[in-house]
Every structure is written in structure tokens, then in C-alpha cells.
Symmetry: C2
Subunit: 397 residues, 2 copies
Amino acid sequence: MPKISSKGVNMPSSPIRKLVPFADQAKREGKKIYHLNIGQPDIETPEGMLNAIKNIDFKVWAYTHSEGIPSYREKLAGYYQKVGFNIDASNIIVTTGGSEAITIAVNACLNPGDEVIIPEPFYANYNGFTCMADVVIKPIVSSIDTGFALPPIEEFEKVIGPKTKAIMICNPNNPTGYLYSRAELEALKVLALKHDLFIFSDEAYREFCYDGKEFISPMHLEGLEENVIVLDTVSKRYSACGARLGALITKNKEVLAAALKFAQARLSPPGVAQIAGEAAIDTPDSYFEAVNKEYTERRDLVVSALNKMDGVFCPNPGGAFYAVVRLPIDDSDKFCQWMLESFSYKGQTVMMAPATGFYSTPGAGKNEVRIAYVLKKEDLAAAMECLEQALKQYASL
Amino acid sequence: MPKISSKGVNMPSSPIRKLVPFADQAKREGKKIYHLNIGQPDIETPEGMLNAIKNIDFKVWAYTHSEGIPSYREKLAGYYQKVGFNIDASNIIVTTGGSEAITIAVNACLNPGDEVIIPEPFYANYNGFTCMADVVIKPIVSSIDTGFALPPIEEFEKVIGPKTKAIMICNPNNPTGYLYSRAELEALKVLALKHDLFIFSDEAYREFCYDGKEFISPMHLEGLEENVIVLDTVSKRYSACGARLGALITKNKEVLAAALKFAQARLSPPGVAQIAGEAAIDTPDSYFEAVNKEYTERRDLVVSALNKMDGVFCPNPGGAFYAVVRLPIDDSDKFCQWMLESFSYKGQTVMMAPATGFYSTPGAGKNEVRIAYVLKKEDLAAAMECLEQALKQYASL
């Protein structure tokens, strides 16, 4: 029998995957589960986007250009100009989700064995994308005590070596919800220029910034034109995760040329999604205002409920729809499994993501979980009540 | 300025890409171009598939399961059972086009430096997928004089070494249109079992077999359960290239488990495409009968016209909608460019793919082109007339 590859063996599983059988069992037992474990928002996709799908009028569902439909790229360029990026359509390669934008960027820029520095906790799938490219992640720990702010630049300097080729950030951050400040990004800029590093900026949650805080991208900073590669997706912006539509944006012509070759190999991004994506750009501001208001309220509800619980600490996230929370527990994997397997309160329980999956430093995240506040407020309130009861019961075990 | 990776530098371009500026210029000059250069069929997508898109009724365009929507996988399993595969839904991972099925299979099965044997000429993007995975293609030349039949097994044996992990075939073949016989596949089976090799079977053109010839897959052969990985797509079957919907099918549990982890990393395949793909499985037989009749007539027209031209030889392809043709020319890249740049007949010209892009043996394919007979018959007839005139004029240069 032929053997699979080392990558096939070592490719990491989703950190939530091992909880799925316990969730399935809990459902079979009739428990109601509040799913705070995944970033699948319940927010409705804009009507204009859905109508664009319903109104398709082609007879042949054909390949599009590998770099995306020209009219979509043009319109998308307009969107990015509004966001303050000094780019045009030629700086955009349309991708199959943000996932493919990341895969292409990593492969186009890093050789096997090269290193990318990522503040941790970080989006767990970065492990998968780097595993596929044989690239090494060098994590720098950001601390819950500072609200997961960018670690001091000295910490980056310590791990920079001859193999270091890039820094990857996710802003606003998944899993922490932290929103990087201009000062933090300026510090990264100095570092990237000093060491000739790419900055991969995963901006999936760009639209989700709260309390009037400004979103700043490395793409906004002068002098970083050759270094910055923005990795984007429509998934969260328009609650259209199933569209699988993203983009890679850079002013670096060499990266663009290389990325185009990767894009050509897979022929084209999804066709209907691009038509819908083009329509989505006309989504009225009122949609985003309503969504922002809703998420702010959800965040306030969750963060305040959490911080009222004994021994619980949750920094107030400035963006995205996640929070990493410190709980009075010994082992978040065990605790999250226990909540599905052995706990219920009024026939209900909560599914959360153990934070261990977002750290690559062994042992880190053992007393933390990630909560995605993607449910309506009454469900979030019930979930928080449930979690509070669970913590009490768990403490007395 | 940070440097891109070696992969970014070495990633191959599409073999047709270098002709695009000449085609654009020809269009600007008002020339009509018959595009026989790409596998984008003009056949209409089945109505049921398009209606499924128009009738979507979700409010949130959500992620699907990483391995595909359960109901789609079930129905797809039924389709494969009809094709004679002894599999169920658990043997299927739904992918983003056939391209992703290939990428996942190569990464899950081969380590960097490992070798895959591929009869050449072969689909040019195999170069890209293997470049991404740092895998080495060992080509075995199949000859136009035998109609591109499978090369003798001794030729495979000659290149098999400790790094050989797989054989890749495309059946019916792109670019040659050759349809492998049961005897040829049985010979590959013996070889694969003897050397413990995976067989990657790219079956994008399964529905396109002519003259009543039977389609045989390595999946039909007993004893190959652990070796065969079928790579599939709905692109050609339903003329739905823009759907970006494919599948990886195998009975090998280790490969399935590894493939699922790659699938999880990119979250999910396109959502609307899966809904449409599920509807497509109900496409009536009459659709395929009409398509088959149309392509048979197109093939007959093209092959007979070609073989009447002086010094031209075109084997009669048993499947797909391509033919590799030997022309009385010195350099197919030069000739194809010349046809766009310097030739016209009644204000028309033909764009074809130089066969050099489908060979990795240096110098091979210099007097061959690939023709995709994806236009209606009157256009194909005009294109053939045009090509005949071009060859006469080229000979007299």
C-alpha cells in the first residue's frame, strides 16, 4: 500500500474538529448548544448580493480571467481606494477566498524552510497554509494582560534570522479581536524595512472596528509599497463565507507577477461569486452601520458578562467578533469537551474553541478559550449564564 | 526590497499566455479570431443547474462542510455508482475545481523531491501543481504515430526509482483526446501494485467518449483500492467551468484523512456551486446524448479537414474535445504567433495552443499544436479553411 506524504501526516487538524463528536453526541441527547466556536456570522448577506445570484443571465457558466473578472476588479479597486489604499485594479488578484490569497502569498514569497513571524495566538489555519508550503512559523507571544497588543519590537528582533522573510498579522485580529494602532504598525514598518521583510496583512475583519476606532492597514503607510501584501475576503464583510471570494492586493510587481502564475494554474476564481461580489460593493452604508451596532452590543454584553464571573478575564476587543478569554480552568481542551460531554444547564450548553489551537508555543492557551459572538443577544445572554454555571460546577469537581 | 521565492520565479506560465498580447493586437486590428486554444466549451450549461442558482433561498451565504454539503456528496456518490465506482459519500471530498483536487492529492501523497510519472504530452498545469509541491515530473513520451496510446510499460519501468511515488493519467486525455483502453489500464495496475505507486486519474472528460467506446477508470479495476485517487470536476461535464467545483475520490482511508485536513484549512468549497452541482446530477440523458453527438460531428469535421491538408497528420481522438496535430512547421510557438500577428484570410485567423507547452522534454512538440474543437461546426469549418491557407502561406515564406 503506497504511503501518504509527511505533509499529509503532519497537516494540522482544525482545533475544533476533535470536539465535533462530543457536540454531535450532545445534540443526540437533546442538549441545545450555543455555538460560540466558529466565525460563521448569523448576519444576513446583503440583499443586493443575493439578488445578483438570483439574476444571473449567462447560458454558459464559463471560466473567468484567472486574476478575476475585469469589471469586478475595477469596482473592487474603487472599494479599496475608499478604504484609503493607493492602488488600482492592476494591483488586485481575485482569489478563491482569503484562504487562497494566503496560500498564494506564502508560496510566492517564501521558500521551503523560510520563516514567517506571527504574533500568537493566531488564526489556526496559518499552521495548515505554512505546512503546505514547508514554511516555518516563528511565534511571538502577545499577552492577554495587555489585551493582546503587538508584542514589543525587541521580541521580533530576537527571532529574526537569515531565514526570516515575512511578518504576518491579522487585523483586527482573529482570535483576539485586537485592533492594531497606527503606532504599532509604524513600528512594524521600521522593522520590515530594516530587515527587508514582507508584511502579510490579513484584513478579513476590516469592517468590524468598534468604539469609533480607526482601521489602519500597513497599506496606508508610505514607504512600504514593496513590502505589504494585503490578504482579503468578502466572507465577513458581507456575511458571505460560502462565496469563497477573496483578493490579494499588493503594489509589488514581482509578487503580482508570481501570484498571477499561481492564479493561472488553478484557472479562475468562482464565477457567480464574482458577479455577486461586484454587486456587493454597492451595499449601502446603513447595512454596515446596523451590523456594527449589533456587534458592538453583542461584544458589550459578552465582555461585561464574562468579566463579572469569578476568576474570568476578558480584554475588551476593538474589532472582529472574537474574544480570547481567561478562565479559572486547568485545561481548555478538557473543559470545552466537558461542557459538551458532561454538563448542561436548563438543557443547554456552550461550544467554544480551546485557545490552545491558536498558539504554537506548547502549553500556551491552556486557561483560555476563544468566543465568537456571532449569535443574537438573547442567545449570547443565555450562553453566558450557561458558562457561568459551568465554571461553578467545574470548580467543584 | 524583499525577494520573492524560487517557486514564485520558477512557477510556469500558461503556455497560451505569451500569445495573448498578439491575440489582443489582432482583435484591435479587426481580425476575427477562432479560439481553438482553450478548453472553454460553448455548450450551454444544463438549465436545471442554472435554475438552481437562480432559485437559491438562503439568507446567509454560509460556509459549507469542508468536505462538501452532505446532500451533495450523497447525490454525487450516486452519480459515481452509476459510472461503476464501488464507493459511497465517505469516499468523496468536494473540492474547488479539479485543480484543487489535484493540488490536494499531490500534497497529501508526495513529499518534496518525490517523483510522479506522467505520459506526455500532458495538461500544462500539472507543471504548476507539482512546482507548488516541489514534486518532480518524470515524463514518458507517447507518440503521435500511435495516436498517443499509453507508452510501453518498459518505458515506465526505466524511470521508476526510489523517489517514484505516483503515476498520473488524464483519461480521456487533455491535450491528445486519447481514451485509454482496459488493457492499458490493466498494465498500469500491475505496475502500480508492483512498485506500490499511487495512480492519480484525472477524469475531467469522462463524459466525452466517442464511437460507442467505453470509459474505463482505474477505479473500475479490482485490487487497486488503496492506489487510485480520482480527480474530477463538473467543469466539462456540465459546461460549468466557472463553478469551480470538483472532487477527490478514493477508497484509501489514509489519503482521505489527509485530504480532509487540507480541505479544512481552506474552510469550504464554493457554496452556490454545490447547490447547482447537486441539481446538475438530475440532468437528463438527452443532454449528454446531444452534446456527445455535437462533439462527435465537430471532431469528425476537424480531423477529416486536417488530414486532407498537405503534410498534416491528426490521429482520431476517442474522447475529450482536443486533438494534437502534426503540422508541416518548424516551431509551433513561432507559427501560432505568426498566425495571430502576420496572417489573415478573409479577415480571420485561428488561435491554437503550441504543443511545446504540453511536453516537458525539451524540443518535443515543436511541430505539433493542440486544437480544442469547442466551437460550432460552421466556425470550425471556417477555422480549418483558414488554417489550410495559413500553412500554404507559411510554407512559402
